[in-house]
């Protein structure tokens, strides 16, 4: 293989670079592909605006009814910016579990498995390409609405910090979602697991109600599970980027990410051995 020979003489760094380039190209083509679905993008922006509008009404009334400017340390503006980030994460996620399950059902997984890349890294690149544009558009739409109604984000330091937290949050969600998707290698239909997962994120991830408003025991319980680190962590860091909070949440994000990626790797090894491809 002349091409492989050439890269191996350059050394490990050369072939590493080519591998990175490979995944970057997959990310890029998926990003370009995302522009091919403007209707999908608009419908997401539309739902983002509706959700934020509903939250805005709901919490304005709640704060007024309680006659307080702060609930558990959060102002109305904090709460809404928090919910904006959480909602943005939720609405920008790739439908990874469903995609993997569909690939198994219709047999396309045969193509995805016999190329010289790692199946999971391929899915990661595709997913990132899928999410990036949506995240930007959702953040722009939701952010504009909240800014207009309640004013700018509470702390500008939150902007650079949230980018890091979002990346980790996205990867944690990727691991959980991919594991659900890989169940399709065994069971074909994963929609039930997907449903349960999405509800867990809604409640224990603090998307519906910020975890700060929960009773202490429930909040601690939610923080001991991985779901909070996909949505609560970036949203909380954004509105209150105090260094202690940031480093604490980030550290836990990293810990979960390491644990879940190892688990996902094992899951994949196991799943591939048991895979049954349809249409054979």
């Amino acid at each position: 293989m002349p091409s492989m020979g050439a890269s191996s003489t350059i050394g490990l760094s050369g072939s590493r670079l080519k591998a990175l380039d490979k995944y970057f190209s997959i990310f890029k083509i998926q990003l370009i592909n995302a522009f091919a679905y403007p209707a999908d993008l608009f419908s997401r922006v539309f739902s983002m605006l509706i959700f934020m509008w509903v939250f805005l009404q709901l919490w304005t009334v709640t704060y007024a009814a309680m006659g307080q400017t702060q609930i558990d340390g959060l102002t109305l503006r904090d709460t809404l910016w928090y919910l904006m980030i959480a909602e943005m994460v939720l609405l920008s996620k790739p439908r990874l579990a469903r995609t993997i399950a569909e690939n198994v059902k219709d047999g396309t997984v045969a193509y995805l498995l016999n190329r010289p890349y790692h199946f999971l890294l391929y899915q990661l690149s595709v997913g990132l390409g899928d999410s990036l544009l949506r995240m930007v558009v959702n953040a722009a739409a939701g952010g504009a609405l909240i800014w207009l109604m309640l004013g700018p984000p509470p702390n500008w330091l939150g902007v650079p910090l949230v980018v890091i937290a979002l990346l980790f949050a996205w990867c944690i969600d990727f691991c959980l979602n991919a594991m659900i998707g890989l169940l399709a290698f065994l069971t074909e239909d994963v929609s039930a697991f997907e449903w349960i997962y999405s509800k867990l994120v809604l409640i224990l991830g603090g998307v519906l109600i910020p975890l700060d408003f929960f009773p202490d025991w429930l909040r601690d319980f939610a923080l001991s599970l991985p779901f909070a680190y996909t949505t609560y962590a970036p949203a909380r860091i954004f509105i209150d980027p105090a260094w202690s909070d940031f480093s604490g949440l980030l550290l836990r994000q990293v810990a979960w990410l390491v644990a879940l990626s190892i688990l996902l790797g094992l899951f994949f090894q196991l799943g591939v051995r048991r895979l049954n491809v349809n249409g054979g």
């Binding site: 091409s3 091919a36 047999g107 045969a110 016999n114 190329r115 051995r273 054979g280």
Partner: protein
């Protein structure tokens, strides 16, 4: 050196069975009934480098399962296989650099993007130099006559155009072996022929080995030198295509035309009349039992012949005959055991 060598390769999996209706569903939930499906039963064969090998069988015979084991996607239940000296299911990603695959109607090209975008992506995925990729795209575009299609979003191509792009994409990284799983499914005659011609040309010029599965005998006839017929997960026939034809082409079909209308029915020992028209007839007979000479003279006595055509059965019929013989043998075995 053999490109593929397969020894007693088998794959079975458990399928859940469920009776019809709500009651059946509930029962399956409480006490699932599992049935062992033996998709591939201990098959052995070899394929040489640069060979054109056809793999045919009816739906569910185990063709695709075999292909998927050879590409490393499925792990076999037992047996060995080596593809280009790799054990596919253990060295899947390494093997992937050297083989190309096309799975029937399952698209590998990005649907909303022009084909050239996918080609360039594959160049990266297979770790080719950019200049090498461009040269290769130009070459394949010419060979498959797709120069004018490369810039069009794939969704706007016809099925025939798309399949040409699909096959070209699978050859981008100069694989040594190309696995085509039902490449001509749904294509019209012209589109089929174009794909066959180009695939044969690539085999000639680049020495890429072709393993083709199809249930279209035309693909096999046009492309393959050797054929393996598989039924119920077992190889029931394995030989050169020419030998297959010679061995089974003893059934002759005759089309005759007379100068005036046929009034009485034609009967002749050993000859089956398939169709009688106003002036002509269609007949079939076995040339081992009834000689061609006797049939022809019988037909000549029947009236004034205007035209006679004697033809061999199509490969499709031959293959059907082999399946039917296999089914009868199986039935016999089953009854014998009982």
């Amino acid at each position: 050196m053999a490109a593929i060598s397969v020894h007693r390769l088998a794959k079975s999996f458990e399928a859940r069975q469920k009776a019809a209706g709500m009651r059946g569903s509930l029962r399956a939930l409480v006490r699932p009934v599992k049935r062992l499906v033996e998709a591939v039963r201990e098959i052995s064969f070899e394929m040489d480098q640069a060979e054109l090998l056809g793999f045919i069988g009816p739906n569910g015979a185990g063709k695709s399962t075999t292909i998927k084991m050879l590409t490393g996607i499925l792990h076999p239940t037992s047996g060995h296989a080596s593809v280009l000296d790799f054990v596919p299911w253990k060295q899947r990603q390494k093997l992937a650099f050297h083989i190309g695959t096309v799975f029937g109607q399952r698209p590998q090209l990005w649907y909303h993007l022009p084909a050239v975008d996918t080609f360039l992506l594959f160049g990266k995925i297979y770790e080719m130099d950019d200049r090498e990729t461009e040269r290769r795209i130009a070459f394949l575009a010419e060979a498959f006559e797709i120069q004018h299609l490369l810039e069009t979003p794939v969704r706007k191509l016809s099925l025939g155009q798309r399949m040409r792009c699909e096959v070209a994409a699978s050859l981008l990284h100069k694989p040594r072996l190309l696995l085509l799983d039902e490449p001509s499914i749904g294509l019209d005659v012209v589109a089929k022929q174009r794909i066959r011609d180009t695939v044969r040309r690539m085999n000639d010029e680049e020495g890429v080995g072709i393993l083709l599965t199809s249930h279209d005998a035309g693909d096999i006839e046009a492309l393959c030198k050797r054929v393996i017929i598989i039924n119920h997960g077992q190889i029931i026939y394995q030989d050169r295509v020419s030998a297959l034809k010679r061995q089974y082409l003893t059934t002759k079909q005759v089309d005759v035309r007379y100068d005036r209308e046929i009034e009485t029915a034609f009967t002749f020992p050993g000859v089956q009349v398939l169709k009688t028209g106003r002036y002509g007839m269609k007949l079939r007979f076995d040339s081992r039992r009834t000689s061609v000479e006797r049939v022809i003279s019988g037909l000549a006595e029947f009236g004034n012949l205007v035209d006679v055509t004697i033809s061999d059965p199509s490969l499709e019929r031959v293959i059907r005959t082999i399946y039917e013989a296999d089914e009868t043998r199986r039935k016999g075995e089953r009854n014998g055991h009982a």
